[in-house]
Symmetry: none
Subunit: 413 residues, 2 copies
């Protein structure tokens, strides 16, 4: 059980409608068990092609992970293809039928007759319960190879994989281990990071370190191969410390940690309350902060003061200030932060005003210009940023993350 | 020249480091020429596996598009594999060598000796110039099949494809055209839609109609194959009308339209101003609305009244109401909508309060319970929703979209 192939099924993955993100996620999971993915393919909704893909992959690897094609419609053919490939007839499983009916009843709905087909499995195969949808997964074996059929919907697939597939694959202890850990950075460019890390990022090194960048955030992946988990974990630990030493405060977290989560923890630890006043980010910063479960403990209130009247009326920004300096200006960012702190009684407050684009820029105030005000301990600071005008969403996201990162740096001891 | 396979080469696409977005982009391009992608695979940096993939795909299709493995390092093996597959030796092409040297000179750099290998091509193959990097692409033919090897870096690949591959493939005029259009629906489940459309969604029909679902939204893809563009367009037009007739107000838009965009257009057309008061969605609704360029024309203000104090202080929700019914209740949703309308002077205002989870639910008020209030023309209506408690993000997203959709239905004539 050392090698795997991933087969994604669906015409929508072959005509440019949808990018298959499932395979990449599964690869990472398998790798953490020491299972290397040595092939991945996308196959259309055609029974023959699916069977051919099963055959080709089963000659190559021990484990096949199949996603998609388990839905209730005519072009969901994974069930049929697997039955033909295994040479086992499909049989109605009354227990599955009841579960699917219950899924609909729980939502006050009646099961459509088309869903009946989802209660059929090849004889001898095991059903994998789907806690997020109607399509059960399928687990079958043939000549020592394992076949896991999972739904194509990412949230359903991930839950089913984590609950049933991963534990099943984890019970083979004779395998080497590959562990991966992520170091999350903000506020330092990818090439600067590469320079600072130098030889640590050389190819062929173990652990291997590589980086990916996305709108201001850089993720460093540390991938360690070892005989056992403890050893791999130690190697990662050592590298993490070295990386943190070299990159300093640019490192904000590890693995799945996010900036909103890290900032939330800092606010909780320091028993501080946050409020935000947003213009150009339009609620994005509040949305990021409140996306964290339990954020009501430290987030008091947010204002999306999109119109000038709202800035004046709700946060006491003086109309003269807006008149004199414009809504996108250092004094208005300051007034927004102070207004939010004052109105909510928060300990720390952010004000953001800027030009997200694509329209609304000028020579003096181009798209990407953003002012962020930060009120903390009775003092307000303002910083000016000129983000690349690469798109409304990117400018807004970068502004919100930059504000969060600033809060993090303030609260960091 | 009607079918294609895409082969992506690289270990980084098999260990979870990178998602292959090239294939999806190429699929769309090919489809616009009437070429269907009937298979896609990811292959590791191993010569034998690459050759096997070439063989398998060449038995299936007319055109192979290969990305990646053209770099200068030891694990860039596409060149070797293609030469072996074609049974043609690699030969040094002096003209390519000069171009690569010039690429470096133009940047004030000296060519590293490792780049020499990029000047080699299988005998008889054509080089595809790379205006964005050092690796030339390769165009070869064997037994009537076409092989295009392109770089893996998306920007280089896209430029090379557009400059050389697309024009080359476009000169076969005997081929039909395939066009795709999307019908965007909200508020009706995938299986209900399938039942209503009935035979229209049968496999093998032309146009082909299939569906994908994501958190309350269902997209129907209408794919029409015809001899020429005008004919394909007419077929899509006819089907769109049929679909709209069958699904009624569940259809909110077409192709790349989004709910926030459609609602924005309706608000603009009706010269109405919007305000929102959010509790559980925490700014997500405001963020969606203001994500649309020009939204300042119709969006006045948003409140993220996360704490009870904020609801009382900023929007005049009576503390007795919260005390008596709880913050998540019909009367509080009503008071939030009315408070937002009152405070901002908006014509239409939304109030949302609910339990996004994962904590905070109870028997009477489970996770997923959401009340949405809608103020319009002096009247306020409230609806109760019980969304599947499948995750904080999904509950929040569904609540925000449901509110937007309600605004759409109100403004729809």
């Amino acid at each position: 059980m050392n090698t795997a192939c991933i087969i994604a099924i669906g015409n929508e993955l072959l005509n440019g409608q949808r990018v298959d993100t499932n395979s990449s996620w599964i690869q990472t999971q398998l790798l953490s068990l020491g299972i290397q993915t040595v092939g991945a393919s996308v196959v259309p909704d055609e029974t023959d092609r699916i069977i051919t893909a099963f055959q080709a992959a089963s000659e190559l690897v021990d484990v096949l992970i199949i996603t998609g094609g388990l839905g209730p419609t005519d072009d969901d053919l994974t069930r049929d293809a697997l039955a033909q490939f295994l040479d086992k007839p499909l049989e109605l499983r009354e227990d599955l039928l009841r579960e699917i009916e219950q899924f609909f009843e729980g939502r006050g709905l009646k099961m459509a007759s088309t869903n009946l087909v989802q209660a059929y499995l090849p004889t001898g195969a095991k059903a994998l319960p789907n806690s997020k949808g109607t399509a059960p997964g399928i687990y079958a074996q043939k000549e020592g190879k394992l076949y896991f059929c999972l739904p194509g919907v990412p949230s359903e697939m991930k839950t089913m994989y984590s609950e049933y597939v991963h534990p099943e694959l984890a019970i083979h202890p004779d395998r080497g281990v590959v562990l991966m850990s992520k170091v999350c950075c903000f506020g330092m460019g990818e090439s600067v990071i590469a320079e600072k890390l130098g030889d640590m990022m050389k190819r062929g090194r173990n652990p291997l370190i590589n980086s990916t960048a996305h709108i201001g955030e850089v993720a460093l992946h540390i991938i360690a191969a070892a005989d056992n988990e403890a050893q791999a974990r130690r190697m990662i630990e050592t590298d993490r410390e070295l990386v943190c030493g070299l990159l300093g405060e640019a490192v904000y977290g590890f693995d799945d940690q996010t900036l909103p989560e890290v900032v939330g923890t800092l606010l909780k630890e320091n028993r501080l309350k946050l409020a935000v006043a947003e213009s150009c980010t339009g609620g994005l910063l509040a949305e990021m902060v409140t996306g964290i479960p339990g954020s009501s403990e430290y987030f008091l209130a947010g204002w999306v003061t999109y119109s000038n009247q709202a800035k004046v009326r709700d946060l006491g920004v003086s109309p003269e200030l807006i008149e004199k300096y414009g809504a996108v200006s250092e004094p208005v960012a300051r007034a927004l932060a102070e207004g939010a702190a004052h109105a909510s009684g928060a300990d720390i407050a952010v004000g953001i005003t800027g030009i997200a684009g694509p329209e609304g820029g000028s020579g003096k105030k181009p798209v990407g210009l953003v002012y962020i005000g930060l009120f903390f301990k009775g003092k307000t600071e303002v910083q000016e940023f000129r983000f690349s005008p690469v798109g409304r969403e990117a400018v807004r996201r970068r502004a919100a993350l930059t504000a969060l990162n600033w809060v993090r740096l303030k609260l960091r001891v």
